[in-house]
């Protein structure tokens, strides 16, 4: 099986420039610097590389939104604010293969004619940020970054910027505000970041994994990358599996690999002979699947067809014996905690949902509470500046739609049948 990213992740020294170079690293950058810029962008378009941060927007298309004129400097921002519950792949790239990211940054900046790049890393990732910074320093010393990279006239400055604890900053305009020293409030659009982004300049925000794919695409060509995946969704992707499986972790798999094989083959199936109850496939914000819905390819369109999303590749495995009301309550606490507070429906709605779920779970639910949740969801969905409200609504609705009996059971029995425990 062809791997794009993780081939050498087992090698402890791969995170150092010397080893990375010995294993072929920075060859793609050399190649890219000899290519016309448009050709690099064209290869990325051909690759059908979809953003790996969650929204799945085609990377090449996004780059095309930059204004044509070069009168204003352009900025590349790397979204390393990995925070979607169930997702932990960008952390792996940053710790095991930081030079993949840096090489990707250098190629992308060269192709987009951006001379400034900020790597926005979530604040908790102190050690990860240190590793990335160390790699940047190495790369700068070796001439891959900084003034006139590899003897060309191309300058590139890369700065690591640490977040400070806010899930919302994974949303690209919130991230930009945070980078600018503001509260992480998403921006009203238009204008879009490609025209008015960080510091008022044209800005492209890409996820770590997305950019780390770029060197491979340059080396092997867009078509080859596309062929690894499915139609309109190329390459491999890093699938994160968490929950009580035998081998939790990150698996690099061709886009389109079946969810069943991800859980049962790659992750080894559930522990202690437990049966599968449900799966959240793409991070906590994506609609939950029942155990009988996992014969689906892990790609954006197949997931969409069955009413869920590939998201950021965060597969959370929920075993039989788990209280789905409690599970949803935990998730709603998260969204209520992380709502930035800007838009009324999300600010008030997330907290309301969390409170109603809390009382249902504790046996104090009232008749009509389930309908109430669904109605509040209707009043939140699609009504806000950014998708955080939607991200809270999608699990809430899908948990109720697919596991309604558990919610009704809590109301009927006035207690949690699972004993208020996981």
């Amino acid at each position: 099986m062809e791997l794009v990213l993780t081939t050498h992740f087992g090698n402890e020294r791969y995170r150092f420039a010397e080893t990375y170079e010995q294993l072929g690293g920075y060859g793609a950058l050399r190649k890219a610097l000899s290519m016309p810029k448009e050709e690099i962008v064209a290869e990325v378009r051909k690759a059908n590389l979809r953003g790996r941060g969650g929204a799945g927007f085609p990377a090449g298309v996004k780059w095309g939104f930059l204004p044509k004129d070069l009168s204003r400097p352009r900025i590349l921002v790397i979204n390393a604010d990995e925070g979607e519950p169930g997702t932990f792949k960008d952390r792996l790239i940053m710790t095991r293969g930081p030079h993949l990211l840096i090489e990707g940054i250098a190629i992308t900046c060269y192709a987009l004619e951006a001379h400034t790049c900020y790597v926005y890393i979530r604040g908790e990732f102190v050690r990860e940020a240190e590793i990335v910074q160390e790699a940047i320093d190495e790369a700068t010393a070796k001439g891959y970054l900084g003034k006139g990279i590899l003897g060309t006239g191309f300058d590139l400055e890369v700065t690591v910027h640490l977040g400070a604890g806010a899930y919302i900053c994974g949303e690209e305009t919130s991230l930009i505000n945070s980078l600018e020293g503001k509260r992480g409030w998403p921006r009203v659009k238009p204008p879009f970041p490609a025209s008015v982004g960080a510091f008022g300049l044209p800005t492209i925000v890409n996820n770590v994994e997305t950019i780390a794919d770029i060197p491979w695409i340059v080396t092997h060509g867009g078509e080859k990358f596309a062929s690894l995946g499915v139609e309109k969704d190329g390459g491999t992707r890093l699938i994160c599996v968490s929950g009580p499986v035998k081998k939790p972790g990150v698996y690099e798999l061709p886009v389109g690999t079946s969810l069943r094989s991800i859980i049962y083959e790659h992750a080894g199936g559930l522990r202690d002979g437990k049966a599968l109850k449900a799966v959240i496939p793409g991070g906590s914000s994506t609609p939950v699947l029942r155990a009988d819905e996992i014969d689906v390819g892990f790609d954006i369109e197949s997931m969409q067809k069955i009413g869920t999303m590939a998201g950021s590749g965060g597969v959370i495995v929920i075993p039989e014996g788990t209280c789905m009301v409690r599970a949803l309550s935990v998730l709603m606490n998260f969204y209520a905690h992380e709502s930035c507070g800007q838009c009324t429906p999300c600010r008030e709605g997330c907290g309301w949902l969390a409170k109603v779920l809390h009382r249902i779970e504790n046996g104090q639910g009232r008749n009509g509470d389930v309908e109430l949740i669904l109605e509040v969801c209707d009043n939140m969905l699609g009504r806000t500046i950014c998708p955080l409200a939607d991200a809270a609504v999608m699990p809430a609705q899908s948990f109720i739609w697919k596991f309604r009996e558990e919610f009704d059971g809590h109301l009927r029995e006035k207690k949690c049948p699972y004993g208020n425990r996981f």
């Binding site: 806010a166 509260r183 009203v188 238009p190 209520a336 905690h337 992380e338 709502s339 930035c340 507070g341 800007q342 838009c343 009324t344 429906p345 600010r347 008030e348 709605g349 997330c350 907290g351 309301w352 409170k355 109430l372 509040v376 209707d378 009043n379 939140m380 699609g382 009504r383 806000t384 500046i385």
Partner: protein, 526 residues
Amino acid sequence: MPNFTLNGISVDVPEGTTVLQAAKTVGIEIPHYCYHPNLSIAGNCRMCLVEVEKFPKLQIACNTVVTEGMVVKSDTEKVRQAVTGVLELMLINHPVDCPICDQAGECGLQIYYMKYGLHKSRFAFEDKVHKKKVQDIGGQIVLDAERCILCSRCIRFLQEVTGTSELEFFRRGDHSEISIFPGRPLDNQYTGNLADICPVGALTSKDFRFKCRVWFLRGTRSICPGCANGCNVEAHFKEDIVYRLKPRRNDDVNRTWMCDPGRLEYKKANEARLLTPVVRENGGLKAEAWEAALSFAAFRLWETVEAHGAASVAVIASPAFSNEELYLARKLAEEVLRTPNVGFSPRSSGNGLSDDFLIKADKNPNTRGAQLLGISEEKFDDIVRKIEGGEVKALLVFGNELADFPGERTAELLSRVPFVAQVGTNEGAVSLAAHAVLPSASFVERGGTFTNHAGRVQRFWMGFPPRGNARGGIEILVGLANRLGAGWTFAGEASVFRAIARSEAPFAGMSYESLGELGQIAGGKG
């Protein structure tokens, strides 16, 4: 000029107009809290959701720029449900303490609840998030964080208008609240605007708090008399007591703002008013009927002219009076008394406060008007010298003070004049010395025009008839002039303004109709 369709109506709008602005121009209300015409777009309240053809999701009207051929609907069931839903969410953590809220009656939540809400409360009271109430945050403002709907208007105002940024959002999610940093209260001259732009009862005016329920108030369009800027205001009153001034939008003068000192100018209409004509004779004061007081004053002026010649009489006009009153005062001096001694008393320094925004050092509303009507400030100094030299035997003074003289100086000067008649609104150094006090109407009790520092002639309207026994300045002047044989037929400020427009070059071609609500720049030299 893009053309679009709103609720089936075809509308042409200038390039760059938003759906919300366009709707206003055709009288369609799109509910909103965070949008404010003179602040940046926040887009966070989510009340102005509308259906836009080709967009699957509802869009916010405040940030949707009209494009050619766009089809927008704000009157569908989908929109109504969305607005009701947002309103319900807005109220779940709101204390709903309307009986003890000063905003009651002009609260955006109350208004929209009646129009778009009327839902039952489905949120348990015990679950509400509680925040700090009744905080004095400085300036003219009290903050109740629980009532705040976090629309960010106040924060944007302090960032974009005053640049002082004293208020910020603290925390996040449903624990977000606006606050000052401890020990750093509001520190600017425009804090009162925060109460105006707050759509709910979170920021209320310390001065107005619990003085009167707003539904008892009536309003009139007016001009702030506090300085030469001429901020357009609305004066709110109950019976003959004024309770507050609120800015009225005029983007060429004050946008939608006014300063804190100006906001308190209304007090002069209530306090220490001269409300009945008084005559001082043989050392004693006596309240008189108007006829008697006017006749007395007219007689003494006539007598003085007869005895000492016209040059022994002087008229000190005031730039706190309207163009109409100043015009008649000049006319009285020049054509009836035939004295060369007419000047205006400048109150140029005031409290000295000025800035590069709305606050002017000239604390008179109509200095420019007096100048354009040919009444000179230099003449005032000349008259003062003549008083000191004992040449002035009779004096007609407009206003409550002489320039910015201390009270003792005014008393000393006026004691040298055998007869002083005053036309004024408030007790002060002049009324203490005058032999005839002719009480005149406050700015809310009469109509007229002021000319601001930039030469903009702006109307103000009568809210209620003069308090007590006071009278409008025009009526007083006509009464005096006609007792001196002038035969004037002016009736009301409009007729005087017509005369001004006919005879005074800077005002040529103007009329009350052409001035409208927002005024016009006077012609002539700068």
